[in-house]
Symmetry: C2
Subunit: 431 residues, 2 copies
């Protein structure tokens, strides 16, 4: 089947004919069905929902397994789940029943030219690419796997085997140090979004759908290869070892201050180096060191190779000053630095944080209350999508079945009676 490009602007289902969107919602009109759990696939859906897409999350009866993941609010509501699923709609369907799967198939394969898109991290029986494609040939099916051959893996196992923990942490620490941020999950979720948009663009231009897959393990392996870490080891570079908070290949490190804080300094360019010397008054001392060592500290490689002597000469300057003075001096010379902060310090003054960073919003989430929530890091013509609450289990079952799938309220009631859809419905306005 080939659909001419101009046809793609004529909606055959619900929704506007030309979903132009506002600047902050360029994907308005796009409908995505998400069958997912954990971080990567939900982050894909969140990213596209924040750009205006209608993301409908399908959950099994009672809600998906990731709804209880830590951290939790005092009520037991997951801050993690609500964070990753903001602004989506949620329906509750028995995916083990043929009737439930048929309902989800209709939802996935409908939606007109801007629908027919699914994001998942699980290949559910009856809802695999080939099953769905039989109903809609131009389907865009986007799937996360653990490994490229379909085997499972998670962020922390993938990280262990691709090398990063071995070079993380202070030199004296025995054994690998894991990264706490599930960075591979975050990257994989964004790759899924890139793949989805590339495939949907291809469909806009040619009418052809396709399957897009991303393996978490591939994301990690590709990244350590792209950054040159893998080739360096293969080609016999000096083995990488734990190096504390030094930035590899240039000069960057954390320094204790006189008042018990720590500040991260990064000296990335020759301009930074010269301004740092000027600030600290260490120009003559470093000139003597450079002569003695045959080094040129305006070169990043030389700064890295001789970082121990640079450390030793800089430490007293930081140790003699309180953080506020150090920050003022470094800022005045546009030198790259930041104080270390804990999440508690960061969140201690929500009003200040919100005022300083429009990427955050105070979102009143049922089960949580007003809390610091993310808006999109993507700013489109100066605008960005608002933070909207995450759905409760089954909150949009009735709305989606009647408004999107065109089922009658009586039919929905019958499905609920049979247990094909869940009993959860939106909280009443009085709640």
């Amino acid at each position: 089947m080939t659909r001419e490009p101009e046809q793609t602007t004529r909606a055959t289902g619900a929704g506007p004919a030309v979903p132009a969107g506002t600047a902050a919602a360029p994907l308005r009109g796009m409908r995505i069905v998400e069958l997912s759990a954990f971080v990567a696939a939900p982050l894909c859906g969140l990213t596209l929902a924040q750009l205006g897409a209608d993301v409908i999350r399908v959950e099994p009866i009672g809600g998906q397994v990731d709804r209880t993941r830590w951290p939790l609010a005092a009520s037991g509501t997951s801050l993690y789940w609500t964070g990753l699923n903001k602004g989506k709609r949620a329906i509750e369907v028995d995916l083990r029943s043929a009737e439930g799967r048929a309902l989800v198939t209709d939802l996935i394969t409908g939606g007109g030219p801007r629908g027919g898109i699914v994001v998942t991290n699980a290949e559910l029986p009856g809802l695999a690419y080939e099953d769905l494609r039989a109903h809609r040939p131009d389907l865009v099916y986007v799937r996360l796997t653990g490994r490229w051959d379909g085997r499972t893996a998670v962020d922390y196992t993938v990280s262990a085997e691709t090398g990063m923990p071995a070079i993380t942490g202070p030199a004296g620490v025995d054994g690998p140090v894991n990264h706490v941020l599930p960075a591979w999950d975050v990257a994989a979720g964004l790759y899924l979004a890139v793949g989805l948009l590339a495939a949907e663009r291809h469909r806009l231009l040619t009418g052809e759908g396709q399957q897009v897959t991303v393996a978490l393990h591939d994301v990690a392996l590709a990244t350590v290869a792209t950054l040159g870490y893998l080739a360096d080891a293969q080609l016999g570079g000096r083995p990488r070892a734990k190096d504390g908070n030094h930035v590899y290949g240039t000069y960057g490190r954390d320094f204790p201050t006189a008042d018990g804080h720590r500040v991260m300094l990064v000296v990335l360019t020759a301009r930074h180096w010269r301004d740092l010397l000027d600030l600290t008054g260490l120009g003559e001392a470093f000139a003597a060191v450079e002569r003695a060592l045959g080094a040129d500290f305006t070169r990043e490689g030389d700064r890295y190779a001789h970082r121990a002597v640079i450390d030793a000469l800089l430490e007293p300057w930081f140790a003699a000053r309180p953080l506020a003075e150090i920050e003022a001096e470094l800022s005045a010379r546009r030198l790259l630095h930041a104080p270390y902060r804990t999440f508690e310090e960061l969140a201690a003054d929500p009003a200040a944080l919100l005022a300083a960073n429009p990427v955050l919003a105070l979102l009143d989430q049922p089960g949580v209350g007003p809390h610091l929530a993310s808006r999109s890091p993507l700013v489109m013509n100066g605008e960005r999508g608002d933070a909207r609450p995450a759905p409760s289990v089954g909150q949009h079952t009735d709305e989606v079945l009647t408004e999107v799938l065109g089922r009658s309220p009586e039919h929905v009631a019958a499905l609920r009676e049979k247990g094909v859809v869940g009993r959860n419905r939106p909280a009443s306005k009085e709640d």
Copy 2:
């Protein structure tokens, strides 16, 4: 200006009328001009080049500052730079000259309906959004900043101030532990690609261009908010502390093996927990512990809260067995695990690595030789883009100026004579 959607399939410049692309190259026909350095913006270009886009990197005379970043091959060629710039074209232009800027303006604003796209992490004089938009109203201009207000920041400063280093590393370690992976750069590069594709899609549908900005600091702040870390601190959750290699909120940890290796284990679900008990024969012991503590270890929160006692009971099982036996047993029960490996161990057998992972290729890069390089983690209908070499400085200056911009060889020679373009040209075939 509003361009009707159907017009967008008529190329007004070079390139095919409907650049359908193959499965592995859905973006074939899209032209992106990249003015960038370091990780994020180049990763955006790489990601789109791997999907078939023509990415032309503009560099100042002599090459961009990031061409010498570590790790380096023995020849001095940067493994980092070549990794991040594979499959792009490179031209060398004096951006301080009006004539050079005019050339780059023509390049950015040309390219027909699939051109007019720029990715940058620097706002160069004369090449800002408003300057370029005056020449092409439907320009898609994608820019990385340090902070949302335009101030600078880099991965390691952003990371320090958004909280992650404070909770990274073993409990006994004093002070913050930085992540080694520039995870915020990686995520920012992928957000840039998402924003670019969303904006270009909007242009396909409406004819309108736009400016997309992403701040590195916003990416970090949004992510710690999305994962619930920030709200947890704001709402008075238990302060997060360093917790070694434990996975927060469930059960996961590294274990030393009898033969001196370490293996990461993640017990994510109740099924995993039951199979682990069955494997280790610890069912009765844990049942007694659960009774004593009033806990239920099929619940992830209980596993996390009582991780110390779980550690103590599991450690002897791992300590008594060599890695190979542990891997075989865990694999047989589909339990999530991986051995820790260094980059050196990973790269020690390139043939095995390549055979096991189609995301890697052996790429013969000038200045490096055959080395382990990344292909795209995005698999489109079973295919993925090949790894292609990164360009030398000015390698495509003549090709781009003549074939893309339609300048005569004589005109290019005159520009070179005046120093408007660089003297570097492709290595001859004999090299």
